[in-house]
Amino acid sequence: MKQKNTIMEFSSVSYSYPGRDEAAVNKISFSLKEGSRVLIFGSNGSGKSTLTRLMTGLLRPDEGSVQTAGLDSSLRENLRAIRSGAGLLFQNPSSQIVATVVREDTAFGPENLALSSSEIRQRVEKALKRSGMYALRRRASHDLSAGQQQRLALAGVLALGSGCLILDEAASMLNPLARKDMDILLDQLHGQGYTIIQVSHFMTNIAKADKILILQAGKLVFEGGTEDFLVRESSLSDWALDLPDIQKLSGELKGLFPELRKTLDEKQLSSDLKPIFAGLRQDPPIAVGETAPPAGPPLLSLHHVNYQYKAQSRHPVTGLIDLDFDFYRDETVVLMGSTGSGKSTFLQMLNLLLLPSSGRISLLGENPLDKKCDLARLRSRMGLVMQQPEKQLFASLVGDDVAFGPRQAGLQGQALSRRVKDALDLMELSYSKFRDRSIRALSGGQKRKVALAGILAMKPEILLLDEPSAGLDPRSAANLERLLLSLRDEGIQLILSTHDVEQALRFDPRLLVMWEGRKVFDGMPEQFFREMDPEQYGLEYPLVLRLWQEGNSQWRESFPLGKDQLKSRLLLGRAV
């Protein structure tokens, strides 16, 4: 193999943001080889993003030096060469798009390089083909899905001629399908010799990495390959990181079966498990979760409901088609489906932000289509937490924002502050500490809690949640999930949508699967995975079931869904 060049070299680099005492990045040194695949992990505030800005010369180090492709980033005349050689992709796909049309946006970089018109056109075409966006080249950039927007951003970087892609949390706002697409694309590009640097708080793709760097509080605490990483897994929690699911499971199974190897690779784990599955005795029949007959009349009920977006315009967009839904007391419903399947539309309709174009709807005994119905009051009985709720915080102080709902309902003075305090308590935010905090100064997880508190302050009977933990780092996501489960224990019923099948199962729900505006499944999760193909609807099998399928050709007869089910199954089977 030919000796590869160094593409990035950090020598004891430090950087502090103006006005801050502690360094965002503190004496970091490492070097990366051309064509390698690098993963950089770190929790919030660990300095990951700062690192990517240093790599591309958006920030200049206070101390030490950064050499990108042999060029010193502190020299202004090098910046153009550095930035055209190392492209940066940001977390939010839509906010890095400059132009309004796909091909125009792709051309933005080459235009800045003052290339000739024909050269730009060639580069744009090549970049769009490479990123799979060529067919959409004339589309308006705001009409794209998040996954497509991220591909567009990638095309923009490729058109610059970059040989090195730096992705700052670039997949965190994508759904699993789009994330998988992005991974495949990155695999291809890596195969073609691109250097790929992925920065994330999600511990995914570890098996593919040539090198892993871990940052904590601005310091580089780990540098090595996957093998070294496996050995150091006990340190992860000190670094405020969580083990990837596969590694956790592999560790727990190794506790039961010492012959198993610890691994990060799903394929390897499933091939290791095969002999163990084969040695199991006849599967014990699983108790099929019989749905209890619904108690009382439905709280919510929708019949033959249709909805169209932009119904008046030239291009109406289908929202919901012929939807029937009854929701009873003591149920938890999880909505799943790919982007554009109608989940958000459905939730917003339950909150009456959208009213059916046709069909019947009855919520908590009232008919919202009756013009005498007080929609504002009815809405507050069914709190909706929208996607990325932190975007919907509109006041500048935490207390004001949480108080908005109760204040609309006429609460004042003592009663109002009590209500705000109770809501913040539920979200484990201290009233005295957070009341007068500026919302902009909060972390992502805290913002989301404040948004939830704002809804809880209205004392809703039913909580509608649209992808409650999407875009959060794993710790905040787990924390939020725990809070939601405790709310349910206190009697608030939940209807939530999620992309994450593992999360869905943890709520032990009635599962509703949507596809292109229609309800395609409504029932227990076991039944769904037995009778239908999740991939057809842009979903995946849960990890445990994926492993189980590999080892059992007759898997449909009976299968475990969660980790605990798998473990008890294995223990039972081995005992004989």
Binding site: L58, R80, G87, S95, G156, L353, A376, Q408
Partner: protein
């Protein structure tokens, strides 16, 4: 009840990707036409000039394969303000008008001129909104920014003025759907927490009172967005004031010269009809 759907209520700024003779005109020409025809609307009397202009715009819209009804939706949000201006003009502005009032309501006298004034006001707004809607429907932002560059070239002593202004145009339009979506987020968030957006029976005053508090969060959202955008632009080698080139170049064709000639003729005739 589509009050939350700001982007679809916003017919201005929504490009229709079609291939018609109107779409194919050179951007600079489209912009020049809007300027000339727009100012013609402003100085033309109601009849027959404004009516003719309106029909001419409809013809352009038809040639551009656009739905006039949809284009006119853009006027809806300003309609209440127009009415208000009309009412103020008729009832509260003191005038010296000759002749007898047409009829009188209580202490107010309504003159023929008043009705003409109001009609003219409405007609002008209609025509302008239609013209701008057609323009934005047939001109992608790329072309607007090209057009700006072309029209500004004679004024820019340095090259950078035309370049930077055209980028400003691009980004402005990029922000329209973004802000529409932010507004949707915020109104929905407020509505789901008891604000009376999108409820039955909403009066105009109540509506105005509801929308005013949106302005500040929208501003903040826009500022935050632009901060990220600046980083994204810089990381793609943008330097303010540096020379840039263009993906597309537009060349004047015979048809463009013909249209230019036609527009100049129309403008001159209308202008002369006004001063002669």
């Amino acid at each position: 009840m589509s009050q939350f759907d700001f982007s679809s209520n916003l017919s201005l700024g929504q490009y229709e990707p079609l291939d018609t003779p109107v779409h194919r005109l050179v951007p600079a020409l489209k912009m020049l036409s809007v300027i000339l025809l727009g100012s013609a609307v402003l100085f033309s009397p109601l009849f027959p000039q404004l009516l003719l202009l309106f029909l001419f715009f409809c013809l352009i819209g038809w040639m551009g394969n656009l739905k006039i009804r949809y284009l006119m939706k853009g006027i809806r949000p300003i309609l209440p303000f127009l009415l208000l201006i009309g009412v103020i003009q008729i009832f509260f502005i003191s005038r010296q008008l000759e002749g007898d009032p047409l009829f009188s309501v209580w202490i107010f006298k309504i003159y023929r001129e008043d009705l003409f004034f109001t009609a003219r006001l409405f007609a002008r707004f209609f025509c302008l909104v239609l013209l701008l809607s057609i323009f934005t429907s047939v001109t992608p932002v790329t072309e607007i920014s090209h057009g700006t560059e072309a029209l500004l070239k004679p004024f820019g002593r340095k090259q950078a003025l035309a370049h930077d202004m055209s980028l400003v145009v691009t980004i402005t339009f990029r922000f329209i759907p973004i802000l529409a979506r932010e507004a949707e987020h915020i109104t929905k968030a407020q509505a789901s927490r008891g604000a009376s957006f999108g409820t039955w029976n909403m009066g105009l005053l109540k509506k105005i009172r509801l929308y005013i508090p949106l302005i500040i969060p929208l501003f903040i959202a826009a500022l935050e967005r632009s901060e990220i955008l600046v980083e994204a632009m810089e990381s793609r080698c943008y330097e303010a004031g540096a020379r840039r080139t263009r993906l597309d170049e537009f060349h004047w064709k015979f048809a463009d010269w013909m249209v230019l000639f036609l527009i100049i003729v129309i403008f001159s005739v209308l202008f002369l009809s006004r001063i002669l």
